[in-house]
């Protein structure tokens, strides 16, 4: 029986109905500029302020004005890292520490800074996809300006010990930023408890609208302006506010955060059922630590096949997923995340990522377990690489 299963929620999520309803008035009747004094401007100003307060509350930031609205995760990452780098340079600190498997919004920003005289150290993430706190401590230097480590990895879903890592950075007087794009709305994120200085988030990862996000900037950190212009966002990120966007984001964040206690145990259960089921396939593996992992993340490799053909065949069966193969990344190399955990190219090409949200059910898992194994079998039957793997193994036995 055919079914539609959207299992690519790490890429983006469906807009929540509540968020959509909350946005509507600001796409229609309330079109006033929040910087204006008249009635419809005052209404939109209130909406922006309320959204900021709601986001601050959901993340347990100490004050709403620590939340700065942006166009999304990439902008927040760029702003946090380039801004912290500039602050560091003023004190003669031009060294930044990050990890090998950050999102490209972080890695490419760091490459840009390297071209402008900064030094970057990328920490190993090991086979389990986890940064070691002692390795961070060992990498910190006198001139380290910033440590930026992602909260949860977008491909393999591993969750870093952010609180511990931030404490180490602070022990040495170094700012700490986390790209929490995959974590916010998905797992509990308590900013005051974590003790981070800067945190990036993106609305469309938790059923909010696309094109909007936020950067948390701890009170007292005078991050340089990203966009110069008007007085919006305390004058450091100018431009008329994306009112409907921030309202939708706040509504979605509230909803997805409230659902965590009910949703996560349920998702963990169906995630583990799927992983265990897929691990019964010959020469398959799970990528990244199984315990310190996002509740909806499944990332597997199947030897002897290539990810894109797997995705196309899954799509024909109504299952929408993603892969870290070269052919799906638009480059010649497979995903840098899979290479960073030590996978050889030929195995990384055969990767499959399935990411679940509130909308996924155990029926979805059962359906995937029904359609996926025959697809793998079919692709392997036409793969000369699989033929070789089997032959070599037989010779060994």
């Amino acid at each position: 029986m055919s079914r539609f299963v959207y299992a690519d929620n790490a890429a983006t999520t469906k807009l929540s109905a509540n968020a959509f309803e909350a946005m509507k008035p600001y796409l229609t009747e309330y079109y006033g500029n929040p910087s204006s004094l008249y009635h419809i401007g005052v209404e939109t100003r209130k909406a922006v302020d309320n959204a900021r307060a709601d986001v601050a509350k959901a993340l347990n930031a100490s004050k709403p004005n620590e939340i700065y609205f942006t166009s999304g995760g990439s902008e927040s990452d760029n702003w946090a890292i380039k801004g912290a780098a500039e602050l560091g340079a003023k004190k003669g600190r031009k060294h930044i520490i990050s990890s090998k498997f950050e999102h490209h919004a972080v890695l490419h920003t760091l490459e840009y800074l390297e071209k402008h005289g900064y030094e970057v150290t990328l920490l190993e993430v090991h086979e389990d996809g986890l940064v070691r706190p002692e390795e961070l401590e060992a990498a910190i230097r006198e001139d380290t300006a910033l440590v930026t480590i992602m909260f949860a990895n977008n491909e393999i879903g591993t969750i870093q010990p952010i609180k511990e890592l931030a404490a180490i950075a602070h022990k040495h007087g170094v700012l700490f930023h986390t790209d929490a794009v995959q974590a916010v709305g998905t797992v509990p994120v308590d900013i005051q408890d974590l003790g981070v200085d800067l945190l990036s988030l993106s609305s469309h990862k938790f059923h909010g609208p696309k094109g909007v996000g936020a950067l948390y900037i701890k009170k007292g950190i005078r991050l340089p302006a990203l966009i110069h212009g008007g007085a919006q966002e305390r004058g450091i990120r100018a431009g008329t506010e994306n009112i409907a966007g921030v309202v939708g984001m706040a509504a979605a964040l509230k909803e997805s955060t409230e659902h965590i206690p009910e949703r996560n145990p349920r998702l963990e259960k169906i995630r583990d059922k799927l992983i265990d089921g897929l691990l019964t396939i010959d020469r398959s593996r799970i990528n990244g630590d199984r315990k310190s992992r996002l509740p909806g993340n499944i990332n597997m490799c199947f030897q002897g096949i290539e990810g894109e053909s797997l995705l196309l065949m899954l799509d024909m069966q109504g299952v929408e997923a993603s892969s870290g193969s070269a052919c799906t990344s638009g480059s010649l190399d497979p995903s840098h995340v899979l290479l960073s955990i030590g996978l050889p190219h030929e195995i990384a090409h055969g990767s499959l990522r399935l990411t679940f949200s509130d909308d996924n059910t155990e029926e979805d898992v059962d359906y995937i377990l029904e359609v996926l194994p025959p697809i793998i079998e079919r692709l392997r039957s036409m793969s000369p690489l699989w033929e070789k793997i089997i032959k070599e193994n037989n010779e060994n036995i």
Partner: protein, 144 residues
């Protein structure tokens, strides 16, 4: 990325798939590191390719171009098969996305590799006839 209907058809229903135990020529190109390997088998009688089959590890375009290449040389004389170009494979598939053009190059090379093997088995030096099959430039990884 959008594939043409023909690409999707040849991907979903590939023609001439499988090993050929009594092949007269077998060619293999590509490597696992790059994410695509094509293996072509040909059966030749009276200088005509009477049968052809393939096995491919790779993306949708790799499978579709392999399938189309086998269709284009099946029943052809070996001299005709030698003139197969990646462009002809692409055109027959109503085009490929730019990043997938290398798959059609691989398909052309796989046919040529099978023909080279055939000539070798006949005791004929294939190089003056087929030419050398270049290493895939894009796939020259640095070992490390």
């Amino acid at each position: 990325m959008a594939y043409s209907e023909k690409v999707m058809d040849h991907f979903a229903n590939p023609r001439n798939v499988g090993e050929m135990p009594d092949a007269d020529g077998i060619g293999e190109v590509g490597n696992p590191k790059c994410g695509d390997i094509m293996k072509m088998y040909i059966k030749v009688k009276d200088d005509t390719i009477t049968d052809v089959s393939f096995k491919t590890f790779g993306c949708g375009a790799a499978i579709a171009t392999s399938s189309m290449a086998t269709e284009l040389v099946k029943g052809k004389s070996i001299t005709d098969a030698l003139t197969l170009t990646n462009k002809a494979v692409m055109e027959a598939l109503d085009g490929l996305p730019p990043v997938k053009v290398h798959c059609s190059v691989l398909a052309e090379q796989a046919i040529k590799a099978a023909l080279s093997d055939y000539y070798k088995r006949q005791g004929i030096d294939p190089e003056p006839i087929v030419g050398t099959i270049p290493e895939c430039e894009e796939c020259s990884f640095e070992e490390g």
